[in-house]
Symmetry: C2
């Protein structure tokens, strides 16, 4: 155990991780006599853990012979039915011919990820890139009001940017064709609306900062055009990446079908974009145990890594998927009660705003429990030496978010490395000094430097995947350095 690890055990870190932060966190001050105030208080978020009543005790959905028509009864998709925007096969030829007559809008790789997301209904009831009224509601209220007055959550603007030249080309057309980076037809956007893309306002209201260095902003927003184009989407065929991982890309409908097939009576989703260590596994297994204690007969874990755009220093998707499969192979998670699938959304790193999107999309996929950690979708401030978001705001905002009332939110129980028992265990504040916190950054440093983490931190098969990945990076760096030298 290196000294470097010990440095991570500061009281700040520990108390930020602690469930009952209101009492222990030296940065907050809280009196408990809130009775006079009629507004909903969340003085103890830990009360929310498992405090929700069981919604159903047995699976009552009917099952037809055609999987795609079966609707899981665990939780309704937002808007009542799952959006599916892929054109039926018998209409494709006609749609392709029609699209050829239309003005073309070229999509980036990340636009394509959003087409994937929208077309499969992860953003239900959204049926296309946002028009201005949806955009404004998302930006100001993190939610959309439906025609019947009901509210669905929608915290991130899901928009398509075009430049002046595109706008000119589109002219007064009502429909446009969407083409991929290689000019292949992707779909059609109908009854379009073009409106101003005020990037500064979008960034400020989404991230709560306009500091330079936000990964999604730099990659997507800054280079984008000054107009947004909204409309109803039709997609010519299902999204495929041909990267050997498409079998992991289950749509919300396919996931619902799989939950039904397994006769799940509860589904708890775990969003991640990092390798799974034994602390995560402990948490997931413990969640299942507690759901069983509550009377559920067959809770299923949806281990749901994010598959779209991530920042440069995150572990790439293929490596993560290999690592996750080792974790199941090594028996750390039970394949019988776990489904591993890819969530196709790009990552915004927008903290409390983004965690709502992560949860909302899992409602559409049929999960009725959502595990939320410390500082979800957070990152370091790009220009200041601090976290960009208050680490507790994610779970607080999630617990109060409009349109997420039907979802059971499970705040993360904090796991850390127990140096006495030599395994990952739930943190016990009474013997704080015996626990080590190993951050994602620290974990990556171990793997990069070839140093082993403490025994029991991660299953050996999973760890080897990471070591191999970082070795390959270094080899690549070596080759590139040699190439640079030889080119001189």
């Amino acid at each position: 155990m290196s000294l470097a690890i010990r440095l991570h055990v500061t009281s700040t870190t520990i108390f930020h991780y602690c469930n009952n932060t209101s009492k222990k966190n030296p940065f907050s001050h809280n009196c408990t006599k809130f009775k006079a105030n009629p507004i909903y208080h969340f003085d103890k978020l830990s009360h929310l853990v498992f405090s929700h009543r069981k919604k159903m005790s047995s699976l009552t959905s009917s099952r037809g012979s055609c999987g795609l028509t079966v609707k899981s009864s665990l939780i309704e998709p937002d808007g009542g039915s799952l959006v599916d925007l892929v054109v039926p096969e018998n209409q494709r030829v006609a749609k392709i011919a029609e699209a050829e007559t239309m003005a073309k809008v070229k999509l980036t790789k990340i636009d394509l990820e959003w087409v994937h997301v929208i077309s499969e209904g992860w953003a239900s009831p959204l049926r296309g890139f946002m028009r201005e009224d949806e955009y404004l509601q998302s930006l100001h209220f993190n939610s959309l009001r439906m025609k019947d007055g009901s509210i669905v959550n929608m915290s991130l603007p899901i928009v398509l940017a075009i430049d002046d030249e595109d706008k000119e080309k589109i002219g007064a057309s009502c429909d446009v064709a969407l083409v991929g980076p290689n000019d292949d037809l992707v779909g059609i956007l109908r009854s379009i609306e073009i409106y101003k893309h005020n990037k500064e306002e979008r960034i400020a209201r989404t991230w709560g900062t306009t500091a330079p260095g936000l990964p999604y902003v730099e990659e997507v927003i800054t280079p984008a055009g000054n107009w947004l184009i909204g409309g109803d989407l039709e997609v010519i065929k299902p999204s495929k990446y041909n990267d050997g991982l498409d079998h992991y890309r289950l749509s919300p409908q396919q996931l619902r079908d799989e939950f039904d097939r397994r006769e799940a009576d509860a589904v708890f989703a775990f969003q991640l974009r990092n390798p799974v260590h034994n602390g995560h596994a402990l948490l997931m297994n413990d969640t299942r145990r507690r759901l069983l204690e509550m009377g559920y007969k067959n809770p299923i874990l949806l281990l749901h890594p994010l598959g779209g755009f991530t920042k440069a220093d995150d572990v790439p998707l293929d490596v993560r998927m290999e690592q996750h499969s080792k974790v199941l192979e090594d028996g750390v998670l039970d394949p019988e009660t776990t489904i591993v699938a890819i969530f196709p959304s790009p990552m915004h790193y927008a903290g409390p705003t983004e965690v709502q999107w992560h949860a909302k999309a899992r409602i559409n996929a049929g999960a009725n429990f959502y595990i939320v950690g410390r500082d979800p979708a957070g990152m370091s401030h790009p220009t200041e030496k601090r976290d960009l978001y208050d680490p507790d705001h994610g779970k607080k905002v999630l617990s109060m978010a409009p349109g997420l009332e039907k979802l059971n939110i499970l705040p993360f129980r904090v796991a850390a490395y127990d140096t006495v028992d030599k395994k990952m265990a739930f943190f016990d504040p009474s013997r704080a000094k015996e626990f080590l916190f190993i951050s994602g950054t620290k974990m990556r440093t171990y793997a990069r430097t070839g140093e082993n983490p403490p025994d029991g931190f991660m299953c050996p098969g999973g760890w080897q995947v990471l070591v191999k990945y970082y070795e390959s990076l270094q080899a690549e760096d070596g080759v590139q350095n040699s190439a640079v030298l030889s080119a001189r």
Copy 2:
């Protein structure tokens, strides 16, 4: 008529002012076939004008002898009852004695304006400065969820900042005393909660920019402490300013009583922070006429200038109140059907976010119709040559805002100076060239330079008030310049 006025007649200005912007605005593109999309569309905001059904045709509220117990039945206050946080007179001595034992927090002039706002129930159901859960909901959702699941609008964080020293002094206390700039006791904040004041995030999410030069930010937020303190407020006595204008400062309850006394069956509120010209008057009189046409028997206008903090180049409150009273004296507005009162809130200049606050507070004051103009609460971008907000976003956001569904929103009909009829008239796009738009900036320039605006722009009595004010400013500048010279 000077050339300078003509320069204001550009097509951009005209079309921005035009009601049906979706067709005429050269900056937007709109197809009308939105039927496939289930989400609430506002393709034609002008449809909202007078499209709401009349809520009641006669006044049914009971009237007791004690004005303060009568509840207007036109529109319910948010949360069901008006908040009133002024300590009953027979408890004052005891409260003052109790407060003496508490840690003291010193309020600024603008903090006092918020104490006034909260204590009279303009922000009902808020009962004090926001705790963190309220702050987060305001920042992310522009609304608060009540215990019964209902939603009230709350778009601006109403918070009290303290510094490290204050926090230290408060220690583990549950209650603190609030004192004014001269250390006079103002009230008590009970069951307090202290949490971090992330200024950057607050500014970005409230204004949609972090550019330097936002008036409220520079005046209030930047110099404030790094902590926010929330809690339940008790105010020792009603807020008074002793500036000769206190008789205009009617509380929401007093306004409701006055509406009842006048047997109003509709109340339409007009928020402003500028002098009233004949275009405003035309609009207000026309609104009354149309309400009468709809079957209301006695619609009352609440002419409701903002009385708190405004930016340095706005016309000061006392001058505006004198100008407004001239407008009534000159018969431009009918005193029988108009109530002029002061709205005690400070101004944020936060556009679509702030206009919700302006409307929500008027619900609490008993107004069931709210007139919204072009670019409400907007200003120029502090560092770029453009409006900070899209001029149409205010009314769009207001029409979709959670918690404001019960309020009838009346988008501004555009008035301009008709150079043929030589009076303010509703803009007629078919003879656009015959209209002049005179901005607030332009109006102030006239008054400052002593130039008269076109006849019929403003009643002579009102105009003289402005001329006198700007003359006094110049005289003051002269005195100050002489003082500087003589000091050299």
